[in-house]
Amino acid sequence: MNQSYDYIEVKIPAKTDFIGVIRLTLSGIASRLGFSYDEIEDLKIAASEACTNAVQHAYREDDKGEVKIGFGLYEDRLEVMVSDSGKSCNFDEVRQGLGRYENGQNVEFLREGGLGLYLIDTLMDDVKIHQNEGVTVFMTKFLEGEQVEMDAKTLST
Protein backbone atom coordinates (compact mmCIF):
# COMPACT_ATOMS: atom_id res chain seq x y z
CA MET A 1 0.00 0.00 0.00
CA ASN A 2 2.77 2.38 -0.97
CA GLN A 3 0.88 5.35 -2.26
CA SER A 4 2.24 8.82 -2.79
CA TYR A 5 0.86 11.46 -0.52
CA ASP A 6 1.16 15.11 0.38
CA TYR A 7 2.46 15.90 3.81
CA ILE A 8 1.71 18.98 5.91
CA GLU A 9 3.25 19.59 9.29
CA VAL A 10 2.44 22.14 11.98
CA LYS A 11 4.16 22.71 15.29
CA ILE A 12 2.49 24.50 18.17
CA PRO A 13 3.78 25.45 21.60
CA ALA A 14 2.51 22.97 24.18
CA LYS A 15 -0.28 25.28 25.27
CA THR A 16 -4.02 24.79 25.04
CA ASP A 17 -4.27 28.23 23.39
CA PHE A 18 -3.30 26.81 20.02
CA ILE A 19 -5.43 23.67 19.80
CA GLY A 20 -8.10 25.74 18.04
CA VAL A 21 -5.54 26.67 15.40
CA ILE A 22 -5.00 22.98 14.68
CA ARG A 23 -8.76 22.54 14.25
CA LEU A 24 -8.82 25.34 11.69
CA THR A 25 -5.86 23.86 9.82
CA LEU A 26 -7.45 20.43 9.88
CA SER A 27 -10.78 21.77 8.61
CA GLY A 28 -9.03 23.28 5.62
CA ILE A 29 -7.11 20.12 4.83
CA ALA A 30 -10.07 17.78 5.31
CA SER A 31 -12.42 19.84 3.19
CA ARG A 32 -9.79 19.96 0.46
CA LEU A 33 -9.79 16.14 0.52
CA GLY A 34 -13.57 16.09 0.23
CA PHE A 35 -14.65 14.94 3.67
CA SER A 36 -18.25 15.65 4.65
CA TYR A 37 -19.26 18.16 7.30
CA ASP A 38 -19.83 15.44 9.91
CA GLU A 39 -16.56 13.70 9.11
CA ILE A 40 -14.69 16.98 9.45
CA GLU A 41 -16.32 17.59 12.84
CA ASP A 42 -15.30 14.07 13.92
CA LEU A 43 -11.75 14.70 12.75
CA LYS A 44 -11.64 18.01 14.63
CA ILE A 45 -12.68 16.34 17.87
CA ALA A 46 -10.23 13.44 17.48
CA ALA A 47 -7.29 15.73 16.65
CA SER A 48 -8.17 18.13 19.48
CA GLU A 49 -8.35 15.27 21.95
CA ALA A 50 -4.90 14.07 20.89
CA CYS A 51 -3.49 17.61 21.13
CA THR A 52 -5.10 18.13 24.54
CA ASN A 53 -3.53 14.89 25.79
CA ALA A 54 -0.16 15.87 24.37
CA VAL A 55 -0.29 19.33 25.93
CA GLN A 56 -1.68 18.29 29.30
CA HIS A 57 0.03 14.99 30.00
CA ALA A 58 3.43 15.47 28.49
CA TYR A 59 4.07 18.93 29.79
CA ARG A 60 2.40 18.86 33.14
CA GLU A 61 5.44 20.24 34.90
CA ASP A 62 7.10 22.69 32.59
CA ASP A 63 5.18 24.30 29.81
CA LYS A 64 8.09 24.59 27.48
CA GLY A 65 7.88 22.26 24.58
CA GLU A 66 6.11 21.68 21.33
CA VAL A 67 3.46 19.46 19.94
CA LYS A 68 3.95 18.35 16.37
CA ILE A 69 0.98 17.60 14.17
CA GLY A 70 1.53 15.91 10.82
CA PHE A 71 -1.12 15.40 8.17
CA GLY A 72 -0.73 12.75 5.48
CA LEU A 73 -3.07 13.46 2.60
CA TYR A 74 -3.93 10.42 0.48
CA GLU A 75 -6.49 9.99 -2.25
CA ASP A 76 -8.67 7.82 -0.09
CA ARG A 77 -7.78 8.86 3.46
CA LEU A 78 -6.30 11.37 5.86
CA GLU A 79 -3.70 10.39 8.41
CA VAL A 80 -3.18 12.63 11.42
CA MET A 81 -0.17 12.23 13.64
CA VAL A 82 0.10 14.07 16.94
CA SER A 83 3.34 13.78 18.80
CA ASP A 84 4.94 15.31 21.83
CA SER A 85 8.64 14.92 22.14
CA GLY A 86 8.60 15.40 25.89
CA LYS A 87 8.23 13.05 28.81
CA SER A 88 6.11 10.04 28.10
CA CYS A 89 3.10 9.04 30.06
CA ASN A 90 1.83 5.54 30.39
CA PHE A 91 -0.93 5.26 27.84
CA ASP A 92 -1.96 1.85 29.15
CA GLU A 93 -2.71 3.49 32.45
CA VAL A 94 -4.61 6.25 30.72
CA ARG A 95 -6.51 3.69 28.69
CA GLN A 96 -7.76 1.94 31.80
CA GLY A 97 -9.85 4.95 32.66
CA LEU A 98 -11.33 4.74 29.19
CA GLY A 99 -14.77 4.16 27.91
CA ARG A 100 -18.29 5.40 27.76
CA TYR A 101 -20.43 6.01 30.79
CA GLU A 102 -22.89 3.30 31.74
CA ASN A 103 -26.36 4.15 32.87
CA GLY A 104 -26.85 3.33 36.50
CA GLN A 105 -23.42 4.47 37.55
CA ASN A 106 -23.58 6.28 40.84
CA VAL A 107 -23.44 10.03 40.21
CA GLU A 108 -20.66 10.47 42.75
CA PHE A 109 -18.41 8.11 40.83
CA LEU A 110 -18.83 9.57 37.36
CA ARG A 111 -15.42 10.33 35.90
CA GLU A 112 -14.77 13.87 34.81
CA GLY A 113 -11.98 13.01 32.43
CA GLY A 114 -10.57 10.08 30.49
CA LEU A 115 -12.98 10.30 27.58
CA GLY A 116 -10.44 11.73 25.16
CA LEU A 117 -8.91 8.47 23.98
CA TYR A 118 -12.30 6.83 23.88
CA LEU A 119 -13.52 9.55 21.51
CA ILE A 120 -10.43 9.24 19.31
CA ASP A 121 -11.02 5.48 19.08
CA THR A 122 -14.69 5.93 18.30
CA LEU A 123 -14.43 8.75 15.77
CA MET A 124 -11.47 7.54 13.71
CA ASP A 125 -11.21 4.42 11.54
CA ASP A 126 -7.79 3.38 12.79
CA VAL A 127 -5.74 4.50 15.78
CA LYS A 128 -2.21 3.57 16.79
CA ILE A 129 -0.30 4.82 19.77
CA HIS A 130 3.47 4.67 19.78
CA GLN A 131 5.54 5.28 22.82
CA ASN A 132 9.27 5.85 22.51
CA GLU A 133 10.88 9.19 23.32
CA GLY A 134 7.46 10.76 23.68
CA VAL A 135 3.98 9.69 22.79
CA THR A 136 2.70 9.67 19.24
CA VAL A 137 -0.93 9.15 18.31
CA PHE A 138 -1.39 8.06 14.74
CA MET A 139 -4.93 8.08 13.42
CA THR A 140 -6.58 7.49 10.08
CA LYS A 141 -9.93 8.41 8.61
CA PHE A 142 -11.03 7.07 5.25
CA LEU A 143 -13.09 9.03 2.77
CA GLU A 144 -16.44 7.32 2.67
CA GLY A 145 -17.39 8.71 -0.73
CA GLU A 146 -14.15 7.35 -2.16
CA GLN A 147 -15.12 3.81 -1.24
CA VAL A 148 -18.49 4.22 -2.96
CA GLU A 149 -16.90 5.75 -6.02
CA MET A 150 -14.46 2.88 -6.29
CA ASP A 151 -17.32 0.41 -6.11
CA ALA A 152 -19.13 2.30 -8.81
CA LYS A 153 -16.06 2.15 -11.06
CA THR A 154 -15.76 -1.59 -10.56
CA LEU A 155 -19.40 -2.04 -11.41
CA SER A 156 -19.22 -0.08 -14.63
CA THR A 157 -16.31 -2.07 -16.08
Partner: protein, 110 residues
Protein backbone atom coordinates in the same frame (compact mmCIF):
# COMPACT_ATOMS: atom_id res chain seq x y z
CA UNK B 1 -12.16 31.03 18.94
CA UNK B 2 -13.33 32.07 22.34
CA UNK B 3 -16.17 31.69 24.74
CA UNK B 4 -18.84 33.95 26.21
CA UNK B 5 -20.79 32.92 29.27
CA UNK B 6 -23.96 34.75 30.15
CA UNK B 7 -25.43 34.05 33.57
CA UNK B 8 -28.92 34.97 34.71
CA UNK B 9 -29.49 34.19 38.34
CA UNK B 10 -33.16 34.44 39.29
CA UNK B 11 -33.81 33.18 42.82
CA UNK B 12 -32.90 29.53 42.79
CA UNK B 13 -32.97 29.21 39.01
CA UNK B 14 -29.81 29.90 37.07
CA UNK B 15 -29.93 30.19 33.31
CA UNK B 16 -26.66 30.11 31.49
CA UNK B 17 -26.06 30.86 27.84
CA UNK B 18 -22.75 29.63 26.47
CA UNK B 19 -21.46 30.86 23.12
CA UNK B 20 -18.39 29.78 21.21
CA UNK B 21 -16.05 26.79 21.41
CA UNK B 22 -15.55 24.60 24.45
CA UNK B 23 -12.12 22.99 24.40
CA UNK B 24 -9.11 22.60 26.69
CA UNK B 25 -8.43 26.33 26.35
CA UNK B 26 -11.89 27.64 27.22
CA UNK B 27 -13.12 24.87 29.56
CA UNK B 28 -11.30 26.26 32.63
CA UNK B 29 -13.16 29.57 32.25
CA UNK B 30 -16.46 27.72 31.99
CA UNK B 31 -15.67 25.66 35.06
CA UNK B 32 -14.55 28.67 37.12
CA UNK B 33 -17.64 30.66 36.22
CA UNK B 34 -20.23 27.96 36.74
CA UNK B 35 -18.85 25.85 39.54
CA UNK B 36 -19.53 28.32 42.39
CA UNK B 37 -23.16 28.59 41.20
CA UNK B 38 -23.56 24.82 41.27
CA UNK B 39 -22.82 24.76 44.97
CA UNK B 40 -26.00 26.58 46.02
CA UNK B 41 -28.59 24.34 47.67
CA UNK B 42 -31.65 23.28 45.62
CA UNK B 43 -30.57 25.16 42.57
CA UNK B 44 -32.08 24.62 39.16
CA UNK B 45 -29.34 25.07 36.59
CA UNK B 46 -30.15 25.25 32.89
CA UNK B 47 -27.32 25.59 30.40
CA UNK B 48 -28.23 26.63 26.87
CA UNK B 49 -25.75 25.31 24.33
CA UNK B 50 -27.46 26.46 21.12
CA UNK B 51 -24.59 28.78 20.27
CA UNK B 52 -21.80 26.34 21.03
CA UNK B 53 -20.08 25.61 17.73
CA UNK B 54 -17.55 23.10 19.02
CA UNK B 55 -17.15 20.90 22.07
CA UNK B 56 -14.96 17.94 23.00
CA UNK B 57 -14.27 15.78 26.05
CA UNK B 58 -12.98 18.72 28.09
CA UNK B 59 -16.46 20.26 27.82
CA UNK B 60 -18.10 16.96 28.71
CA UNK B 61 -15.82 16.82 31.76
CA UNK B 62 -16.99 20.26 32.90
CA UNK B 63 -20.66 19.31 32.54
CA UNK B 64 -20.18 16.01 34.36
CA UNK B 65 -18.52 17.95 37.18
CA UNK B 66 -21.32 20.51 37.31
CA UNK B 67 -23.98 17.80 37.17
CA UNK B 68 -22.36 16.01 40.13
CA UNK B 69 -22.03 19.19 42.14
CA UNK B 70 -25.61 20.33 41.50
CA UNK B 71 -26.96 16.89 42.37
CA UNK B 72 -24.95 16.69 45.58
CA UNK B 73 -26.60 19.98 46.60
CA UNK B 74 -30.08 18.59 45.84
CA UNK B 75 -30.45 20.63 42.70
CA UNK B 76 -31.52 20.01 39.16
CA UNK B 77 -29.23 20.22 36.13
CA UNK B 78 -30.30 20.45 32.49
CA UNK B 79 -28.67 21.11 29.16
CA UNK B 80 -30.79 22.58 26.38
CA UNK B 81 -30.39 23.65 22.76
CA UNK B 82 -27.95 20.93 21.75
CA UNK B 83 -27.14 20.70 18.06
CA UNK B 84 -27.11 17.30 16.35
CA UNK B 85 -23.33 17.32 16.72
CA UNK B 86 -23.39 17.93 20.46
CA UNK B 87 -26.19 15.42 20.91
CA UNK B 88 -24.05 12.82 19.17
CA UNK B 89 -21.18 13.51 21.55
CA UNK B 90 -23.46 12.84 24.53
CA UNK B 91 -24.85 9.74 22.83
CA UNK B 92 -21.57 8.04 22.01
CA UNK B 93 -20.16 8.70 25.46
CA UNK B 94 -23.27 7.37 27.20
CA UNK B 95 -23.85 10.70 28.94
CA UNK B 96 -27.20 11.21 27.20
CA UNK B 97 -28.62 8.55 29.51
CA UNK B 98 -27.28 10.25 32.62
CA UNK B 99 -27.60 13.99 32.10
CA UNK B 100 -30.91 15.56 31.04
CA UNK B 101 -30.38 16.91 27.51
CA UNK B 102 -33.91 16.42 26.21
CA UNK B 103 -36.10 18.83 28.08
CA UNK B 104 -36.22 21.61 25.45
CA UNK B 105 -39.84 20.78 24.74
CA UNK B 106 -40.81 21.36 28.35
CA UNK B 107 -39.62 24.92 28.25
CA UNK B 108 -35.98 25.41 27.44
CA UNK B 109 -34.49 28.86 27.40
CA UNK B 110 -35.86 29.94 24.05
Amino acid sequence: MNITIDVQDINSRVEIQVKGEIDAYTAPKLRETLFPLSEQENISMVVDLSDVSYMDSTGLGVFVGLFKSVRSHNGEFRLVGLSERLRRLFDITGLAEIIDINSDAEGGLK
